[in-house]
Symmetry: C2
Subunit: 313 residues, 2 copies
């Protein structure tokens, strides 16, 4: 079996490069000291996020393809949440020297498929390959605002409609199912429970970020830490309260569960909600998050410094 250590960095890169998705915005792709990317409106949106073996994923559950797909999807969602169209990614990978080259090929294929499905035209313009005892995937993603103002967390006003596009609590439910059933049957669990796929390879509604901006969204973010916790961030930044309709939300897991990377946005009253957005509440005067008018205090979300049990699988 070819490993990264046995064939070396150059030969490994030669096997990965052809699998990576091309970016339409790439004026100069991988191979020089830096890439050059088009930024036609004179600005670019940028976000960075790492996935770490252990706190962020287990190899008993996630395939290499899942890892690439999720790393791309979660970063694309941060670009979309600004109302921007994702244009390009750079990817820094650190893997143990005894990793099979097929691990990296699978990760590259996950990036390719996530870009093709979620953000056509977006691709990988550069990267870095290192050795580490801890498998680490660091992604930086770029987007084009196409002349629009970025949609911040701070623009929601009392009376705005609160809406979400994408799943609520599905990724957390998938994680719960994985923990309940142990590590032996992840593939079978995935067939039986779509929530497991939502955890391992989430499919956030990336294109709805631009649609929200075009429809006049006043605030937006991506739900990485759970609806309640992330809504509290919008409420704090905007100086308002967010009151959810319990009937529109469903379960407690939908309020507290993280990692869906769905888009939470606020729109002026009367806005025809674009794309997959559905109404789940209203912005009011006050502070914090409420459900049917009752303050909701549960923290929810995921802090790896507090929540990780130290296992990696």
């Amino acid at each position: 079996m070819d490993t990264v250590g046995s064939i070396g960095e150059s030969a490994t890169l030669a096997r990965i490069f052809p699998r990576l998705p091309h970016a339409d915005a790439a004026l100069l792709g991988p191979g020089d000291d830096s890439a050059v990317v088009a930024a036609p409106d004179g600005r670019f949106v940028v976000t960075t996020d790492m996935m770490i073996h252990g706190p962020d994923f287990r190899l008993a559950w996630s395939s290499p393809h899942d890892l690439g797909f999720k790393a791309a999807a979660s970063n694309l969602a941060d670009v979309a949440a600004m109302g921007a169209r994702p244009t390009a990614l750079v990817v820094a990978l650190a893997v143990p020297a005894d990793s099979p080259v097929s691990l990296l090929e699978g990760i590259a294929d996950g990036f390719r498929d996530a870009c093709a499905e979620l953000a056509p035209g977006c691709g990988v313009v550069g990267g870095d390959l290192s050795v580490s005892e801890t498998l680490t995937i660091a992604v930086t993603a770029f987007g084009d605002l196409e002349g629009r103002a970025p949609v911040l967390r701070s623009g929601a006003r009392p009376g705005d409609v609160v809406a979400v596009s994408g799943a609520l609590g599905q990724a957390a439910a998938g994680l719960r199912i994985l923990f309940e059933h142990g590590v032996r049957d992840a593939a079978a669990l995935r067939q039986a429970h779509p929530e497991v796929a939502a955890q391992l390879a989430p499919r956030p509604p990336i294109a709805d970020g631009v649609l929200a901006a075009l429809a006049g969204a006043t605030a937006m973010l991506d739900l990485s830490d759970g609806l309640a916790l992330d809504a509290r961030r919008v409420a704090a930044a905007s100086g308002i309260a967010i009151d959810f309709d319990a009937a529109s939300i469903g379960s407690r897991e939908a309020l507290d569960g993280g990692e869906d990377h769905s888009l939470l946005a606020t729109f002026p009253p009367g806005t025809e909600l674009p794309g997959g957005f559905r109404r789940i509440g209203v912005a009011t005067t006050g502070e914090g998050v409420l459900v049917d008018g009752v303050p909701y205090e549960s923290r929810g979300g995921w802090d790896p410094y507090e929540g990780w049990d130290g296992n990696a699988g």
Copy 2:
């Protein structure tokens, strides 16, 4: 002692943010899903690179300030090597949960001082903080070409002057001194040997990248893997040979040692060399690297998959 695990992610970030350097190009800084950076010429230059505890540094030798300084400097050099002016960085950090917060504060201060010294006006516009068993620093750096074409590796022509700005072999000499003397007296070694500081906190001539482009450089790269190995890359990309003057180079360590992050560039014959550039050879027809006309075959450079002894310190 406050650790990242004991005070949590939010409180840690609150202590790091004020120490990070401001970027003049930041239209929107840290705190939302993404940052927004100015790209006035409608393009941006981007490069990414990771530093990993073990293969890339030892905590017995490098201070937290060194780590931030070197991570910034090495990425700034990749931007400079395109002939671009560095504008902004994003930084993803993964640290063990029991790391003291002062580790992160020191790293942040290193980023601040590297930007102030090497690329004034450049700053940190965003980041990510994660937990990992392996201390990992992933940097993505951006630059502005200010309307110029990027300086690639492929533009050197026979007859061009080959020149370098910055140290040759100093970082490798520093590493050799550290290995020879062991880990007990890094601070004293650093006082006695400037090469040790060149290894732990290199100071590449970032501003000379733009000066080289303005002077008409035909090819350029930053010397991360050693003069001979990196010159071979320019030669291969340009379809030429590079013949070094032995007297201008000095030691074998100057040819083979990596991590100086100096700038190697080629200029049309007769060019008045800008900034700190000095002539060290000439481009000729043929292929590969020669010294005083004799082919030079030593590989040199640093491949962590082959070269790392597994120790971290």
